[in-house]
Symmetry: C2
Subunit: 434 residues, 2 copies
């Protein structure tokens, strides 16, 4: 049977992984589909230096992406160059020519996924994006198809493998953040400029896409309160363990009576929850639905081959649709404007909180902190101090009962004039409902 | 836009849950699809005593399933009566009339899924079966779409919630199997005749379906070596914990150099693996792919609403296809007959094993058991005995290094003539690769 023809733009890590799978797994793909997928063209700025698997034959090779998009035989354009400028041009040009698109571009989709989907619907083509979030976890297929009949109330994610690796290393080895980051950079697990990862921006883009899919609203990164992991110290794991918790960079989208709370921030989670067993460079997504209760999905967050599986699986689905005729589409970024999922400010969050202080010790500190908390009607749950700490730089923890983020912030503001702090207090929510 | 019309046959637990979701979540379903789903007919032996949600209007109510299947307005027939006789008639009649079918029937699909799919393909309709395995986990969507581009090498499952609940209770409370089973029966968590659950037959049907989907081969229940959990005692968890393992009823489909090994049996799994955090009446599936590495899926195994979500999600997918025109189909039970996934006998399994003995103690027992193992070239890893046991009924454990199931069985046969056993030895594989 006639193949469906692909044009692959971008031959970096994910592009090469995708070509490997298309070459090595071609027989099984053709058997599953009933027809083959054929790589008709590849494009890269350095295409002449790229190794194209021999089994793919001789696809057209070009450094000009327009030749791929304009190629009359090509049915699906695969955008794997990343970034938001040229990638957007590639996708918009392909859509304008009535070609379906498969992309792994989380940043672009988080920024303007809704607009791209509107164009895709107008052109009656498909825009597939499984690889854009948590590469190895088929969470798009789950939200789009597997549990589409449910009404989702909460989504938790561990969506940045670098942060999860760093936090796990701090936890297991007691090493400092700076030291673990330096090692991860030396080993190539973290970028030279680590900000996108450790400041939570990468995770924020992914949460924007997942929460749009889960709630059918347009969610943009600026809707999401974001805090990174730079301040997490080994001592925080010591205290978290005393509380039978651990610490992860948790992405949360939770429907509350007031609206949709969105955040990316380091949080304490109970050791007994399955989310706590996500260690190292893995990703996970936990979904709570009104009908389906809790489901949990776990896998590699990145990597040439895991992300390549997502791209190839999307290609198979899109190719099947090209053969069967395109369905009517509804944008996954705006399918259910029932008005029930309106983003609200993080100050409306309500949770138990972990407050960690570092002080130069002297009598009366607890009394002054307790007074600041009491002034905001916050109830103290426990005061914890690990033994053998240095009185000149004494870390200790106060946990407080369920309070609003607004009152926690007000209490922290009251504490600002106190002169015994070595560094500003660190506040983290405790996700007890997991 | 015109609705897609449904006929629901069977209004038990899952049928009622499905109607609840179709009624309560109708707005969101219509927004996601672009058109509504309408329940046009319901059928049950006791239809007059069933409560139909008012929001569904007045569907035709009948005790005769043929009226549903023959109804000219109905596009999709939902088979939720279970069993393998009438259910098969319902499905075959619907398919013969060119109607798509959504079913939750694991037993029927395990038995004759390949035949039903052949009929569905010939009639150019869809046969959707997400609810047939691990109701709350969208594992069909994952295997069919999410990771369809991967080449799966191993699938592990915890697929029977009743067994997992019983094992977890034995582990946490130290109660006997018989006592926990009786309590579960009294509470309605286990059937009066518990055999399908505790002897592994239910899990076997589910593994037959999942491994067919994962490997594209026709796998039938009789291909699968099956052992239940009746012999697992609190003491086994004591020894498993000494070894930093726990015990679960593990469903395994693993590609080996010789072929595909299929089993449902109690197994030791490391406490550190995420599979070990599956407690109580939950299900989980772990998939290892050549390219995508490990992914893991977790959720409710059953229940009216979790399984209802699977049915409704299937209905949405099938309805979308009815609107867009059916694609060419390839049977998921036989999409990839590459000859590489041939089932092989369990005697070819290779693993470390846990051997638990109960003996009337006397000198020389270890020597005799060790001689039987040595005669089959099996190396002992450890001999474990918890303190304070009764010498008249002394349980102890020998763990052995990686061996073939055939040699383990031969060694156990050699032990048969020994006269100090209170009960036959219990052998379980240790899944160390998880």
């Amino acid at each position: 049977m006639q193949p469906v023809n692909l044009g692959v733009v971008g031959l970096g890590n994910v592009g090469s992984g995708t070509l490997d799978i298309l070459a090595e797994n071609a027989d099984q793909i053709a058997l599953k589909l009933g027809f083959p997928l054929r790589v008709a063209a590849v494009c890269s700025r350095h295409v002449s230096s790229k190794k194209i698997p021999a089994a793919l034959g001789s696809p057209m090779q070009t450094t000009n992406w327009r030749e791929v998009v304009d190629h009359p035989d090509i049915h699906i354009v695969v955008e794997l160059i990343g970034g938001t400028t040229i990638a957007r041009e590639v996708i918009e040009a392909a859509v304008a020519r009535g070609k379906s698109v498969v992309t792994a571009n989380k940043e672009l989709l988080a920024q303007c996924g809704a607009e791209l989907w509107d164009q895709a619907i107008a052109s009656r083509i498909n825009l597939a994006m499984e690889a854009s979030v948590a590469g190895g976890i088929p969470i798009h297929a789950v939200l789009r198809e597997g549990i589409s009949g449910d009404r989702i109330t909460t989504l938790y994610g561990i969506l940045n493998g670098t942060c999860n690796y760093i936090l796990t290393e701090i936890e297991q080895r007691g090493a400092d953040f700076a030291q673990v980051l330096a090692e991860a950079q030396a080993a190539g697990y973290a970028e030279a400029d680590p900000s996108a990862d450790v400041d939570g921006l990468d995770a924020r883009s992914k949460l924007a896409i997942l929460s749009a899919l889960a709630f059918g609203e347009r969610i943009v990164p600026s809707d999401i309160y974001t805090e990174g992991i730079r301040r997490i110290a080994p001592i925080d794991f010591g205290y978290a363990h005393m509380l039978r918790h651990t610490i992860r960079l948790v992405c949360t989208a939770r429907q509350t009576p007031e609206g949709l709370l969105l955040s990316v921030r380091p949080s304490l989670i109970p050791q007994s929850t399955i989310l706590a067993s996500v260690r190292g460079a893995y990703n996970a997504v936990w979904v709570r639905g009104k009908y389906g209760a809790d489901t949990f999905y776990y896998g590699r967050g990145a990597g040439a081959h895991p992300t390549g599986v997502a791209v190839v699986s999307d290609l198979m689905r899109v190719a099947r649709e090209i053969r069967s005729g395109s369905p009517e589409r509804v944008s996954p970024f705006a399918h259910a404007r029932l008005g029930e999922y309106c983003p609200i400010p993080i100050t409306l969050n309500r949770a138990a909180y972990y407050l960690r202080f570092r002080v130069k010790d002297r009598p009366g500190i607890i009394a002054q902190l307790a007074a600041a908390l009491a002034a905001e009607n916050i109830s103290i749950e426990a005061v914890l101090q690990l033994p053998d700490e240095n009185a000149e730089n004494l870390p200790f923890v106060i946990t407080v009962e369920r309070s609003s983020e607004a009152s926690i912030r007000a209490a922290l503001a009251r504490m600002q004039k106190l002169d015994f702090f070595i560094e500003p207090p660190l506040a983290m929510p405790m996700e007890t409902s997991l």
